[in-house]
């Protein structure tokens, strides 16, 4: 009985740690604008291109390296979704020639600076948390997508992991949201008819 009493807290601690590591960060996106209909994850969606703008820090005091981390992670994660024909960077000269271009604007709303050292200690403190507002607009300023997305790193990993998690959540949210038919696709469909 004694042995059982000794072992059980360790087993529980290890189980909690393993669950925390193995369980991917949950996607937590809140709808700020009117929801569009069913998620459009299907491959026959119209293929838009997207240009990722540099991150707007808003009123939040956040280091530039975090902004760069979010920007680069967004480019990487949006490319992985295969939802867009092209993923362009801010400032790319050929973006004006790209038809059906959407612009992704990201504004930091909340940032809680964490500490990798505190996280690694067996405590519950030190989490790095990021909240951003993501807007997908057309060239003429029409907002197609407006969400608040969270990214955080609770236990393992560096602070930059929060930027990666955030970008992954933004990409997932965009992937699951339907986009209107692009002008090129509409032309193609009318031609077929």
């Amino acid at each position: 009985m004694k042995a059982n009493k000794r072992v059980s807290p360790f087993v529980i601690a290890v189980a909690i740690m393993m669950t925390a590591v193995a369980h991917p960060p949950q996607l937590s996106a809140q709808t700020a604008a009117t929801e569009l209909s069913a998620p459009g994850k299907s491959s026959h969606n119209p293929k838009w291109s997207v240009q990722v703008k540099m991150i707007d820090p808003g009123d939040v005091n956040i280091s530039a390296s975090f902004q760069i981390g979010i920007y680069e992670s967004l480019l990487n994660e949006l490319s992985k979704t295969k939802r867009f024909k092209q993923v362009l960077r801010d400032g790319e000269r050929n973006s004006s020639d790209v038809p059906d271009l959407l612009i992704l604007k990201t504004t930091i709303e909340k940032y809680t600076a964490g500490s990798e050292t505190q996280r690694a200690a067996p405590t519950v403190s030190g989490a790095t948390k990021l909240t951003v507002r993501s807007q997908l607009c057309t060239r003429d300023g029409q907002i197609l997508f407006d969400r608040t997305v969270h990214g955080k790193v609770l236990f393992m990993g560096s602070n930059f992991r929060a930027t990666h998690n955030l970008a992954r959540n933004v990409a997932k949210t965009i992937e699951q949201s339907p986009l209107p038919v692009s002008s090129m696709s509409a032309l193609g469909q009318s031609g077929q008819l």
């Binding site: 740690m17 530039a64 760069i68 680069e72 960077r89 050292t117 405590t123």
Partner: protein, 194 residues
């Protein structure tokens, strides 16, 4: 009898000589080790290399693998990163728009150490955590590619090396806004006023 004495003399002499040579080799090794550990910056024989550091590329440098460790150097007005024998990735210093400096700390030992600390009895893990961390510098470089696209790259360097790299980039014409320093100074002023 004389021959025996001579032989004894030679053996004695040799027995003294062998430890001396061993000691000399050991001394030489120690001197070399100390000299190499003092050398913080990696300076290859090529004279055109201005400065070089061991660095970890976190993300963003075009063509370089994320979380890879290699040599970050400034050579011929170009910022270079090379991991082992992999191809060199580089950007011209003229294209660098800004350089941001930061500092972070991380726990050494990785997942095994964390799990070990979690299961350590009587809060022993917390005591270990007090000592098992390492501070490092982060350098974020914002640059513009040939097509006008803005890129950002983040590197981790040993503590103190980030400032040297940033100053060197600034001396070579890269635009540096010193934003991070301004923030730190503001915090210090606030603390002093209290």
């Amino acid at each position: 009898m004389d021959d025996l004495d001579t032989l004894k003399g030679i053996v004695l002499e040799r027995s003294l000589l062998i430890p001396r040579s061993v000691v000399m080799v050991l001394l030489l090794l120690i001197v070399c080790t100390v000299a190499s550990s003092d050398q913080k910056a990696i300076k290859p024989s090529n004279s055109t290399v201005t400065i070089g550091f061991r660095a970890t590329h976190v993300l963003g440098f075009e063509g370089a693998k994320n979380h890879s460790t290699g040599t970050l150097s400034i050579q011929d007005r170009v910022l270079r990163f090379q991991k082992g024998s992999n191809p060199i990735r580089q950007v011209t210093i003229a294209s660098v728009q800004d350089v941001f400096l930061g500092d972070e700390s991380k726990q050494v030992g990785g997942l095994p150490m964390t799990l070990g600390k979690a299961v350590a009895p009587f809060g022993g893990g917390r005591v270990v955590s007090l000592f098992a961390h390492k501070k490092y510098d982060t350098v974020a470089v914002e640059y513009v590619a040939d097509d006008g696209g803005i890129h950002g790259a983040i590197f981790e360097l040993n503590q103190g090396q980030g400032k040297i790299l940033r100053d060197e980039l600034a001396a070579m014409g890269a635009h540096v806004s010193h934003n991070d320093e301004v923030k730190h100074n503001k915090i210090e002023v606030t603390n002093e006023s209290k």
